[in-house]
Symmetry: C2
Subunit: 260 residues, 2 copies
């Protein structure tokens, strides 16, 4: 099943996508809902961020080659994380599929993509086992954890490096009933493949993250968990189009729009 | 003006406190609202967290003696932050005035309070000057940035050290039309004063934080900014009552409830 959030005729609602049609839904995928009977062509609506999360979790460094590359950039030995310690991103930065990544004029040239699987929590959970964990997942979408590496290295926190407005494209929609171990990510800039990996090569997988987090935290419907990216990443320039494609989900596309 | 969020007769709404009465409001303090005509005695209602923020910002280290003390604890030289780089906390951890701080059985004895001023954003803002900044503030409340120092030192992020469920008491209400420079914080454990400071001794004040953040981020109604704490902090034990009192606002009280 394929859930989206969309705007048509000035109002925003959830919808279920079937083929090229979006069936408008009253309610949300997290609770009671029903089709209103209205439907729209997929190319006649404006896709929105598929969920506004109560808490926006991010695994951060969770793939071995990315950790090694990032350490080399800093001139340090790679230090693989020993535990699934989760981090955070911020709501202000979210934009949907198709929205520009608007880069402040004072950003350095080190503006980079990170293509990631996003897990959307569907039900409240606390203290769940790895085996149970996927029962609490609504589905999966795609995230681009856009990062300004100079700010990331030099600031005390990642506030503007990763959470500047528009630096967190997420979408285009949520797909349910997937096995995260089967998914493959391809990242393209202007149609050139710049990165590619299997989700299953993560240091800590979806089941482990959810189970560990839930020992201390209550996860609630709509919370999202971005799983991290693999490999080296490259700079993007003004006008570049960045696509993150994940098999069985789709493609998240956003263009870089550098402010003068 | 004194805003609260409260539950009475099974339903939650915003209210305006006048003396010992809570006047129920339809709508929110951030938009259109009106008194419904219903009112309740302040001691007959259940106070809730006064706002559920879209994004939960925290200054983190923002007072000189706290930075010096924290560095000594780690056996390092103090390194005062050079800029107002903001951090994040998480929604799951919020609890209201009067709610227990529930400590997981595997926490170490280094469970500590941090008494802080909380700024509640009232209007959407981007690129505002320090002079304009307070026009975008609805008011102020109180936060206890409860921290498990062993996890804070050893984990890669502050996920469970600061964001375990119930580790972020906030309340009891929001007071408008204050000058943050006038406010004084007193922290008590079991009625013994364990810390005291003037809000205005912060390295970076409320106006500077809002102005700097707004260069990169859109702040929206309901966002909160916790301003950090001053001084050394001490361990709390099972059963301890921690009060954070801020002049012109009130007192946030929460008891430690250590799981067996």
């Amino acid at each position: 099943m394929q859930w989206c959030r969309f705007t048509a005729n000035g109002s925003t609602s959830y919808g279920i996508i079937e083929g090229e049609s979006v069936h408008e839904v009253s309610g949300t995928p997290f609770g009671e809902h029903s089709k209103t009977g209205k439907s729209h062509g997929l190319d006649s609506i404006q896709l929105e961020v598929p969920v506004i999360p109560p808490t926006f979790y991010a695994a951060g460094i969770n793939y071995p080659e990315h950790v090694t590359w990032a350490a080399q950039m800093r001139g340090q030995e790679p230090d693989l994380p020993k535990r699934a310690d989760v981090g955070y991103r911020a709501i202000n930065a979210l934009v949907p599929h198709g929205h520009d990544i608007i880069v402040p004029a004072d950003a350095t040239e080190q503006l980079q993509y990170e293509g990631e699987l996003v897990v959307v929590i569907g039900k409240t959970c606390r203290n769940v086992t790895e085996t149970e964990s996927l029962d609490y997942v609504l589905g999966y979408t795609i995230g681009n954890d856009v990062s300004e590496r100079t700010w990331q290295r030099n600031d005390r926190t990642m506030w503007r490096a990763k959470n500047t407005d528009t630096f967190k494209p997420m979408g285009p929609w949520i797909v349910t009933d997937l096995n995260p171990d089967d998914l493959h990510v391809v990242i393209r800039v202007n149609d050139r493949v710049v990165g590619e990996y299997d989700v299953a090569t993560a240091l800590f997988g979806v089941r482990h993250y959810i189970s560990e987090m839930s020992k201390y935290l209550t996860l609630v419907p709509g919370d999202v968990l971005w799983m991290g990216t693999e490999g080296a990443t490259e700079n993007m320039k003004d006008g570049d189009l960045c696509d993150i494609e994940i098999s069985e989900i789709g493609t998240l596309s956003n263009r870089v729009n550098w402010q003068k």
